[in-house]
Symmetry: C2
């Protein structure tokens, strides 16, 4: 098969015409398909239904330390839930605070607290002229929305196959005291599925920030979200590395069971050093008396321990793996072979980040929409929604059924080919 670059102008014109006809046929089908949402499918959710049976009216709703979980109190979570979450992300239970149902809410509150109260006695960010965050790109749009909402200036940092460009990170963090944070998804990053290498994690832990209240926002959202039973990635545990490097207080780590059990009805957690936890609690007491401890107990009773949770995640993987494999095969055959797009093969997480030819992403997303296939908006994985190369498209394969996904993916590759051919023709 010829790549599009290898084709003559005439061949490309012929290809574009054929694809245009194909595109019109697809449109006529009136499809309604969606590859935009990083949501579990109903089949995945079904896997967690037995969790609805682990507590009933005969269950003693008490924690291991005897606390009646039906009443007020316990600001930072029950001991057994701390243990489960700690095992999920590899840290110590005493680092963990269990919150409500949303790690996004915890992240928002962390930034809000830094803005209004300041971190560990430092000047509240809201009182500073300028506050900046480093934003590895492509990244998670809801991270960027939080920092944008608070008027924090976002600086894009290029991603590599091993994590963010650490030369750039080190340069900014060590030289600019207005740089107060960085958004990281260290394992199976959103959207690329990048796993931070040991060297990347160590360089993070060894940062020498100009700002004493610089914090790494370490969103370990996909800690246990493998796609394959073999080839499961592990990352270095960030707290241990930070302690070794003399930076014990530099990290806020976030995680949840939203994509383990039920999004919206899971448990979310923050892990932090003792000093950070004390600082957080000094404000949190004004905000709430405590989170849903019964739901914490429900999760613990359901999984029993980390092995139970890992077994559960294997079942999740079995549901989503065929979807990733199908996409992988189709994109390799139809796109990579023509050299009109690339991606990193994800081993975990919820996305494939597709790099189209420069200047094609918006057009591809628009034409997919025209053909009844909703994709995440082009630019969404970038601060301010601006992809400088107009090239990145986040593909979310988990929510549709395999059959629907196949249909949607076939539309997608047709559109990528069409838009790419036309783009290349512009310069012929």
């Amino acid at each position: 098969m010829k790549t599009y670059q290898e084709m003559t102008k005439e061949e490309l014109l012929f290809e574009a015409a054929a694809l245009e006809a194909e595109f019109e046929k697809i449109k006529a089908k009136g499809l309604t398909l969606d590859m935009s949402r990083g949501k579990p499918s109903a089949e995945q959710l079904d896997l967690s239904m037995p969790m609805m049976d682990v507590l009933d009216s005969k269950t003693a709703l008490t924690s291991s330390d005897g606390t009646d979980l039906r009443n007020y109190g316990v600001l930072d979570g029950i001991p057994e839930a701390k243990k489960l979450v700690a095992d999920m992300i590899g840290c110590r239970p005493e680092n963990v605070m269990i919150y409500g149902n949303s790690s996004l809410n915890i992240m928002y509150d962390q930034v809000a607290r830094a803005m209004f109260d300041g971190i560990c006695g430092h000047t509240p960010w809201g009182k500073l002229e300028k506050v900046k965050f480093l934003c590895p790109v492509p990244g998670y749009d809801r991270h960027f929305s939080i920092t944008e909402h608070f008027g924090i200036e976002m600086i894009p940092i290029a991603m590599t196959e091993n994590g963010p460009d650490m030369d750039a990170v080190e340069r900014y963090v060590s030289s600019d005291e207005t740089v107060k944070g960085i958004w990281c998804v260290p394992k199976y990053s959103n959207p690329q599925g990048v796993v931070y290498s040991d060297e990347t994690v160590r360089r993070f832990a060894s940062l020498k920030p100009a700002a004493p209240d610089f914090r790494i926002f370490w969103d370990n959202a996909y800690a246990v979200h493998h796609i394959y039973d073999e080839q499961q990635a592990e990352i270095l545990e960030i707290f241990a590395e930070c302690e070794k490097a003399g930076n014990p207080d530099m990290v806020f780590e976030f995680c949840s069971t939203s994509k383990v059990t039920f999004p919206g009805s899971g448990i979310a957690a923050l892990a932090a050093s003792e000093a950070n936890r004390a600082d957080i609690k000094s404000q949190l007491v004004f905000q709430t008396i405590g989170y849903d401890k019964i739901n914490q107990l429900r999760h613990v009773k359901y999984f029993e321990n980390i092995e139970g949770l890992q077994e559960h995640m294997k079942k999740q993987a079995a549901v989503i793996r065929p979807k990733f494999e199908m996409l992988e095969e189709l994109l390799s055959r139809e796109i990579a072979a023509r050299e009109i797009g690339s991606w990193i093969k994800p081993m975990g997480g919820y996305f494939i980040s597709f790099d189209a030819l420069e200047g094609c992403a918006k057009e591809i997303v628009a034409k997919c929409k025209e053909a009844g296939v909703t994709m995440t908006g082009a630019g969404a994985p970038f601060p301010y929604g601006q992809d400088p190369k107009d090239s990145v498209i986040r593909i979310a394969p988990t929510y549709p059924s395999l059959e629907e996904l196949k249909q949607a993916a076939e539309v997608f590759v047709t559109v990528v080919r069409l838009v790419s051919a036309k783009k290349l023709l512009e310069s012929r």
Copy 2:
């Protein structure tokens, strides 16, 4: 029986000496009792245990509009939960937003949002030189903690048997544009149990605020928390009154099922006008994707409707009523008869607010502590913890068993008598 005022100095000295001896005897018992916490007792919590059975792995976890409640989405709550909550507080379902487990958290977030984002396009309070809140006293300490945390100046407003002193409220609100809010617990107020009269509610609804972003923080925490099956108070519905008075956007109303089902595992809600809800959601989308919808469904399935919830609250009342009646009887006999204290008999809510002789509250609480009985700190129901008359003590009778409460109450009345006798002797 002579009142303490009627006693001669010698009689009072004799009384004080006898009480001192009695107090020493009590101390020797080494009691550990608690009347400080506005928490349901285990017996009350037991009443809600059947709620743990209404959902199981066979239940379709979908809302009335067909939404899969196990997945992401539904920012402001499921329709049937909105209906249940609306019926609880008497407003329209479309006014209601269902949040997570804590109305306190909603209130905190409302103030935080006003501070940072501003209300409906007005200048964020955090950018103003001065922001003030009116605080009816005695009131709820956690309300005052929120406003204090945000540096909002608190102005105490006297409570009457019909609600806050509305002359003072009207004067402040209409003349001072730095007055941005007022904390209200309109039904069975914390701690006095005051029920706002129709005139009070109408005068609230008819306020003419100098500040366009003035809001009434209407914490309807005890909407269905009656103590007696007869004599249940009703208050006018604030949104309807506000609309009539041309102030549709002036109220944020809060409530929860924390003291209906399980504190920490209930559902909490905010009710507001359309303009306010749109304003809130424009920020809330950055904070979370949605709250625990399965727990919303659990509550709806358990109660079925408002009648079911009211039946449940009758059972709660049957548990707490003997405690209030015992206290009422004991305080009447031992304290009121001696004219050394007064209170308003509460018909609902969780507290009795005891007015000791001036200058006695701190001493009474300290001596109770000495005798092994924990009371809410004197001053707690006032902004900055300062009770100008050092007179108010909040009594929380629900958490201990009736037997423990009796013991604690007997210690309390002995201490009140002792401290009062000594106080009166100071001026003899």
